[in-house]
Symmetry: C2
Subunit: 337 residues, 2 copies
């Protein structure tokens, strides 16, 4: 039995516990052992939970921690503490990966453990591991991704004739948008995710602040109708272009012939262009309790298979990137080349 701890018992953290329980026999099959949640840490008063990280990192039984707290602190301090003691950390926290991913990956490598973050981009979609394990030998020249389920839900519902405000309210009522939706609809969430993906494929660390970022707040129902009349639709994309390099988040016109056209509602789709493999797309639920938890569990299993070793997502080797300013679009919307 392999003991783990979950830091932050919110939506994703409780999902991790649920996946480990529901799929225990599948996990045993693939890992050769069971996973057991020995500790839950939460700042709220949850029965059975601890609130002192030292209890967890001082327990020699614990070799793997799931960090599903979100935000920079105390996630950064806790992750740092764990990795320094050789405890691998599996994170869904894109903000932390963007801000401190390089530093934390170096600490993991120095202490023969791993800092993995499959769940930080694309929810349940396997994307970071396939980029590393299946596409590491490719020259990736472009990434174009629908990376935010909230925006995609809003834009999909606008295709049914709703205004932006109506579609946003419906997303909030259905739990697909926060009460303060700024991070989603202004594109910052997408910017963090495309910066992480660009870093993984380029050998350079791109940060969220380097992304030329426009959200969807200016997209009108008439814009959507106009696009549909041209057999196209509008999607918020995060785009990385190695020729520059450029990093852009903006609403794009997507023609019906592009596979991203059919990525609707809360689903995400990530297109990758490699000079050998040509176009790939990875599609699935980009958010949600169980799909995101499934990605965290895939990282836990990989850490459990490689205890005492470092798996390097290449973040430990990245140097800060220089990006070129993205040129302004010639019209209100951008087009995929």
């Amino acid at each position: 039995m392999i003991n783990i701890a979950i830091l932050g018992f919110g939506t994703i953290g409780s999902g991790v516990a649920e996946v480990i329980e529901r799929n225990s026999s599948e996990i045993k099959n693939v890992l050769g052992d069971y996973l057991h949640v020995k500790y839950i840490l939460d700042i709220r008063d949850i029965p059975g939970a601890v609130n002192d990280i030292n209890i967890i990192v001082n327990d020699p039984d614990i070799k793997i921690i799931c960090e599903t707290m979100g935000g920079k602190e105390p996630a950064y301090t806790y992750t740092h503490l764990a990795l320094e003691r050789g405890i691998s950390v599996c994170s869904s926290n894109k903000e932390l990966v963007d801000a401190y991913g390089v530093e934390l990956s170096i600490i993991a490598r120095e202490h023969n453990c791993s800092y993995l973050f499959e769940a930080s981009v694309g929810g349940g979609i396997p994307i970071i591991r396939p980029l590393r394990e299946s596409c590491g030998h490719e020259k990736i020249t472009k990434i174009a991704g629908i990376l935010n389920g909230t925006c995609n839900y809003i834009l999909t519902n606008m295709r049914a004739g709703k205004t932006f405000d109506e579609a946003l309210k419906e997303a909030q009522d259905n739990g697909f948008a926060e009460r303060n939706p700024a991070a989603d609809i202004e594109g910052h969430d997408t910017a963090r995710k495309i910066a992480i993906l660009a870093s993984l494929v380029s050998g350079q660390k791109f940060s969220y602040e380097q992304v030329n970022c426009t959200g969807i707040t200016e997209v009108t129902l008439q814009d959507i109708i106009d696009a549909e009349n041209e057999n196209s639709t509008i999607k918020l994309l995060g785009v990385y272009d190695s020729e520059g390099p450029y990093l852009t988040v903006a609403p794009y016109i997507i023609p019906q012939t592009c596979p991203l056209y059919s990525v609707n509602s809360v689903f995400n789709g990530i297109m990758i262009h490699g000079t050998i493999v040509d176009d790939l797309m990875f599609y699935g639920r980009g958010a949600g309790k169980l799909p995101t938890a499934s990605a965290v569990v895939s990282d836990v299993i990989e850490c459990a298979k490689t205890l005492g070793q470092n798996i390097n997502n290449n973040f430990a080797d990245l140097k800060p990137a220089e990006v070129k300013p993205t040129e302004p679009p010639e019209s209100k919307f951008r087009y995929l080349e």
Copy 2:
């Protein structure tokens, strides 16, 4: 430098050599070493090629072989010989994987080497490794895949108003269909691929002969027009349903709302349903020299990273599956549930 051999210097085999040369620095980055093609084996008289497998398997420099010959013999004998000597084999040969994949995987495990076959399904699409590494803890209840580029090219061109015969001839003229297209258009190629995928996710070995198989030869231009008028189209799918289990290859009606609807021309798309992660789709070029070679190279790199170890795609543990007869469709075409 890691020395490899390529068996069969046709389209895919020569593609492997090209990928290794063109992307040598990316391979060095990800592997920490260069790959070098020390031997090419081909039955044809190619300058520099050898035609005796013993030269290769007797060379202690060779730890990895790419089997890109296709067909059962001599691929089976050569693969067997190599694995028995602890030489890993990376194969694009779906016929061999379907017929002897279990036996060859057991031999690989016994000799601390690997039998990998990412390129046998979906061409350049990372599918077998993500199923193993990212979805091994999922209960996969359904797979529905557009797995044959030739059929998809024909059906896509029929949407432009061509008859089946016209579209087939165009596919042949453009090199997307063989002169004898039976294996593609009668569905046998798709059947082999869905049998391999079903085996990977189910813990049971399904064989090609167990697939209820209908091709696309009876699909008429009028059928396509009728489907389009219902905002749908017709695609040849390989379908695995764990409730049965059932294995079916047949033309399906695909509505515009399904991501498979936008998988056109020679592209493939593979939808996976897991009880935790929900729907995933993997999309890319399902055939072609360089994309398929890229998948072979991804296997070579994995073998090179794990010399002396066995990577088990789970095939070594599979028991023969029993399948239920697929019920006949209520109309000419099937529908995805």
